[in-house]
C-alpha cells in the first residue's frame, strides 16, 4: 500500500514561489488501478515523480507498506518496488528491445539469469512484441516502444506501476490497445497501477479517477 500524507511541493517560479502540491494525501491500495487527471501544469508529473522517488517532497510523508520512503534504499525501491513508464518511453537507442527490457535486472547484478531472460521474452509475448526481441528500439513504432517500456517496468515484478501519460504520443487505436494492456496487467498480474493522464478515455479504464487541482486531489469517479 502506498500512502502520501500532507505532501507539499513548491517550485521557485522567478521571484515568486509556486505551490504545486499543497498538503496532498493519497492512499493507493494493493492491486488498485487509479488514474490522476488534471490540467497541464497542475502537478500530475510532480506527484508521480515523488511517488517514483525521483523527487523529494518539501513536506509530508510518503510510505510504502507503512515504511517511510525516506528511510529506504531508493535505488532498491526504484528497482524492485516501482516500475515506471514514461510518456516518451525513454528507451536506450543503443540496445535492442529485449536488452531494454532487461536493463532493470542488470542494475543489481552484472549477469542476467537465463530464467529472467525467459521471463522477459514471456512478457514481450504477453504484450504481443515477442518478434521484436532483437530489434533495435530506434526502428520501433510509438506503440511498440510503449509496450517495450511497459515490459521494462514489469521485468522485476514491481509492486506498483507508475505511468506518466503512457498514451500521450499515440494515436487512438494504439492508445486503446495500451489501455487494454494496462487493464490486463492490473487484472492478471495484480500490479497496482497509478497512471497520470489527461485523456478521459484512458482514465476510464482505471478503477478510480482523481483530479489534481490547486495542489489537491479530488475523487472524480
Amino acid at each position: 500500500m502506498l500512502q502520501l500524507n500532507n505532501i507539499t511541493k513548491r517550485f521557485q517560479d522567478g521571484e515568486r514561489e509556486r505551490t504545486v502540491l499543497d498538503g496532498l494525501s493519497l492512499t493507493v491500495d494493493d492491486g488498485a488501478f487509479i488514474a490522476i487527471t488534471g490540467e497541464s501544469g497542475a502537478g500530475k508529473t510532480t506527484l508521480l515523480s515523488i511517488m517514483a522517488t525521483l523527487l523529494d517532497a518539501d513536506a509530508g510523508v510518503y510510505t510504502i507498506d507503512g515504511t517511510p520512503v525516506a528511510s529506504m534504499d531508493l535505488s532498491q525501491v526504484r528497482n524492485k518496488q516501482i516500475g515506471i513508464v514514461f510518456q516518451d518511453h525513454r528507451l536506450l537507442p543503443q540496445f535492442t528491445a529485449v536488452q531494454n527490457v532487461l536493463l532493470p535486472v542488470l542494475a543489481q547484478q552484472a549477469e542476467c539469469p537465463k530464467a529472467t531472460y525467459e521471463r522477459a521474452l514471456q512478457l514481450m509475448e504477453w504484450m504481443g512484441i515477442r518478434a521484436l526481441e532483437k530489434t533495435p528500439v530506434g526502428v520501433l513504432s510509438g506503440g511498440e516502444k510503449t509496450r517495450v517500456a511497459i515490459c521494462r517496468a514489469l521485468i522485476n515484478n514491481p509492486k506498483v506501476l507508475l505511468a506518466d501519460e503512457p498514451t500521450g504520443q499515440l494515436d487512438s487505436d494504439n492508445a486503446h490497445t495500451i489501455a487494454s494492456l494496462f487493464q490486463k496487467v492490473n487484472s492478471e498480474l495484480h500490479t497496482t497501477i497509478v497512471m497520470v493522464t489527461h485523456s478521459d478515455a484512458m482514465a476510464s479504464v482505471a478503477h478510480k479517477v482523481y483530479r489534481l487541482e490547486n495542489g489537491k486531489l479530488e475523487v472524480r469517479g
Binding site: 535505488s75 526504484r78 528497482n79 543503443q94 536488452q99 542494475a107 552484472a110 549477469e111
Partner: protein, 583 residues
C-alpha cells in the same frame, strides 16, 4: 546478457565520439612515449659512447700537465695496462689543419713513421684505406710540450714540431679507435703513432702521461709502485729538484725545506751607470749556512768587478714580473751587498744551475729562444763570454723573501729545495699531480645524469599533451551531455551512481587502453624521427654525432601507465562533473 554486453553495445553506438577520444589518446601517447624513449635513447647512446671512448679501460692514471716515467709500466700491477703519451696536435690536409688527439702507444705495433687513425678521422679525411693499398701521407703538427709546463715564465710557446707520418690503417671502434678521456659526446679524431717516435720528436723520451688499465686499480696499490722519481721529482741526498723546473707551492709547503732556491733571469743589475744585463740570479733563504734576509744580496766577484761595487754597497736589480701569464711588467728593487763571493763557488753549487729549455741549452745569448722581450743589442762580448763559460750560473744571490712573491707563480715558488732529511718520501702521487680515475662509473653516471631529454621533450610536447587531454575531455563531455537522458534512465531504473560511473568508466577505458597501446608505435616513430633530426638537422645544437634508438619495455610500460592515469583522471573528472550536475 550481462553488463559487459551493454557496455560493448554502448561503445559501438557512440563510436563517433570514441574515435575522437582514441585519436586524442594516440596523440598524447605519441608525445609521451616518444619523449620517454628519446630520453632512453640519449642516455643509451651516451652510455654506449662511454664504452666506445674508454675501450676496455677500467682505470685511468692521468698525470695532468706532468709526465711520468714509462718505467712504471714494468710493474706487475700494469700487466693489463697500456701507457700512452697523449698530446693535442693538428693534422694537415691540403692546407686545412684538423685538430686531433695524438696517442703515442707501444701497443698496436705501430712502426716508426706510420700511424693508425680512427674511423671518424678517416671519414673527415675522406679516406678509404681498404680501396687504397698505398695508405695516406700527411704531417702532424705538435705544439711545444717539454717537461716544463707550457706557459711557465722563460719557456717559449713558439715551439711547434712537425712529424711526417704514413697512415697505414684505420682502427675501428671495437679496437678502441674512439678512445677519448674527456667527457664529451662528439666522436674524437684520433691518430695513433709509435710512442718512442712521438717522445723523440717532442723530447719526452721515456715519458708517458696516460695509463689505461683493464683492471680496477686502487690508488693505494699504485702508490706502492710509484716513486717521486717517476714523476720527474729528483731527490738526491737532501736536495730536491724537478723536471718541471718549478716546484709547486703545495709541495714546498708540505716538505717544509731547510732552504729554498729560486733561479730567475733578471734584466739588469745596476750600480749608477754600470750595468750587467740579462743575468741569472738565484733567490735563496740561506746559502752555505748563511741566511739571506731583508734586501740582502751576495754578489759574485764577476758582477762586483763589472759594477765597481764592494761589500756594503747597494745595487739595483730589475726584472720582469709575470703575474698574469706572460703579461709582463718590469719591477726594480734595491739590494744591499752583504758580501762578495767567488764566482767559482756559485759554479760549484749545482742547485744554483737551473736549466731552462731554450736558454740553458744554447751556446750564445743571441741564440736564446724565449718569449721574453730580450734586447740582444744590450748583450756585449763579455756577456757572451760569460755565458759561453758559465751558462746559467747566477751572478748574484738575493734574499728569497724579497722576491719570492714577485717571481712565484702557479707553476711553482722554487727551483730547488734543501731538505732536513729525505723528506721527499712524504710526497704522494697526488702531490705530483697523478690522478687515479675510474672513468667508466663516472662516465656512465654522467651519461645517465646529463641533460634529461625526456623532461626536455616532455616540456616541449607539453602543449600537445595538454591539447590532446582537452580534446579528449571535450569529446567525452559532449557525449555525456548527449547521453544525459540515458544516465537519468539508469537512475530511474535503480542503478546507483557507483553503477553508472563504473559502466561509463569501463566503456571509455576499453577505448583508452587500446588507443594507448596503439599510441606506443607512433611514439617510437616520433622518437626515431626526432633522433634523426637531432643527429642531422639539429646536430649543431646537440654537438653530437647523432643518437641511436634505445628503448626498454619498462619505459614503454611507464609511459603507458602514465598515459592511462592521465586519461583516467580526465575521465573521472568529466564523469563526476556530469553526475554532479544532476545528469
Amino acid at each position: 546478457m550481462n553488463r559487459r554486453l551493454l557496455i560493448k553495445e554502448s561503445r559501438t553506438y557512440y563510436q563517433r565520439y570514441y574515435r575522437l577520444v582514441a585519436l586524442a589518446v594516440v596523440l598524447m601517447m605519441m608525445v609521451l612515449t616518444g619523449s620517454l624513449v628519446l630520453g632512453d635513447s640519449v642516455r643509451g647512446t651516451l652510455t654506449d659512447r662511454v664504452s666506445e671512448r674508454l675501450g676496455s679501460a677500467e682505470t685511468i692514471v692521468a698525470t695532468g700537465t706532468n709526465f711520468m716515467s714509462n718505467d712504471i709500466m714494468q710493474s706487475p700491477l700494469m700487466a693489463n695496462a697500456r701507457g700512452y703519451l697523449l698530446v693535442d696536435g693538428f693534422l694537415s690536409d691540403g692546407g686545412q689543419l684538423i685538430p686531433v688527439y695524438v696517442w703515442g702507444t707501444d701497443c698496436d705495433s705501430v712502426p716508426y713513421g706510420e700511424a693508425i687513425i680512427n674511423q671518424p678521422l678517416a671519414d673527415k679525411l675522406h679516406l678509404d684505406l681498404s680501396a687504397s693499398a698505398e695508405g695516406w701521407d700527411g704531417a702532424l703538427h705538435l705544439p711545444s710540450h717539454t717537461l716544463v709546463p707550457s706557459g711557465s715564465l722563460f719557456v717559449t710557446k713558439s715551439y711547434a714540431t712537425q712529424m711526417r707520418l704514413h697512415v697505414s690503417a684505420v682502427k675501428d671502434v671495437k679496437s678502441g679507435g674512439n678512445l677519448l678521456l674527456k667527457n664529451e659526446q662528439t666522436l674524437p679524431l684520433n691518430v695513433f703513432v709509435n710512442r718512442e717516435q712521438l717522445a723523440e720528436v717532442m723530447e719526452l723520451e721515456g715519458k708517458i702521461n696516460i695509463i689505461m688499465s683493464d683492471d680496477i686499480l686502487q690508488e693505494d696499490a699504485l702508490a706502492e709502485v710509484w716513486t717521486p722519481e717517476m714523476s720527474g721529482i729528483h731527490s738526491r741526498g737532501n736536495t730536491l729538484t724537478t723536471d718541471r723546473i718549478f716546484i709547486q707551492d703545495d709541495i714546498v709547503l708540505k716538505l717544509n725545506p731547510e732552504a729554498k732556491y729560486f733561479s730567475y733571469l733578471v734584466n739588469d743589475i745596476i750600480n749608477a751607470t754600470d750595468t750587467v744585463p740579462y743575468s741569472f740570479v738565484t733567490a735563496v733563504t740561506e746559502w752555505q749556512g748563511s741566511p739571506l734576509t731583508g734586501r740582502e744580496m751576495l754578489l759574485s766577484d764577476y758582477a762586483a768587478a763589472h759594477l765597481h761595487v764592494a761589500k756594503g754597497d747597494s745595487v739595483r736589480m730589475s726584472y720582469f714580473l709575470s703575474k698574469d701569464l706572460k703579461r709582463l711588467e718590469t719591477r726594480e728593487q734595491r739590494f744591499l751587498v752583504k758580501d762578495i763571493v767567488p764566482l767559482e763557488a756559485l759554479v760549484a753549487d749545482s742547485l744554483l744551475q737551473t736549466e731552462f729549455p731554450g736558454l740553458s741549452n744554447v751556446e750564445r745569448c743571441t741564440d736564446w729562444d724565449s718569449d721574453l722581450p730580450i734586447h740582444m743589442d744590450r748583450i756585449h762580448k763579455e756577456d757572451e763570454d760569460f755565458w759561453y763559460k758559465y751558462h746559467q750560473t747566477p751572478k748574484a744571490l738575493v734574499a728569497y723573501d724579497a722576491v719570492s712573491e714577485d717571481w712565484g707563480s702557479g707553476f711553482g715558488t722554487a727551483t730547488a729545495l734543501v731538505l732536513s732529511d729525505d723528506g721527499a718520501r712524504d710526497l704522494t702521487m697526488s702531490d705530483a699531480g697523478v690522478m687515479v680515475i675510474h672513468p667508466r662509473e663516472d662516465g656512465i653516471y654522467a651519461a645517465q645524469h646529463g641533460t634529461d631529454f625526456s623532461s626536455l621533450f616532455l616540456a616541449l610536447g607539453f602543449f600537445i599533451i595538454l591539447s590532446a587531454v582537452l580534446l579528449m575531455q571535450n569529446v567525452l563531455e559532449e557525449m555525456y551531455i548527449q547521453r544525459a537522458d540515458e544516465i537519468g534512465v539508469y537512475r530511474h531504473l535503480g542503478y546507483t551512481q557507483q553503477n553508472i560511473r563504473g559502466m561509463l568508466i569501463r566503456e571509455a577505458c576499453g577505448v583508452i587502453a587500446v588507443a594507448a597501446t596503439i599510441g606506443v608505435l607512433p611514439g617510437v616513430l616520433y622518437s626515431s624521427v626526432t633522433l634523426w633530426l637531432l643527429g642531422n638537422v639539429w646536430s649543431g645544437a646537440t654537438h653530437t654525432e647523432g643518437f641511436a634508438l634505445h628503448f626498454s619495455i619498462v619505459t614503454v610500460l611507464i609511459s603507458w601507465v602514465i598515459g592511462i592515469v592521465i586519461c583516467l583522471i580526465s575521465l573521472l573528472y568529466v564523469i563526476n562533473k556530469q553526475i554532479k550536475q544532476g545528469v
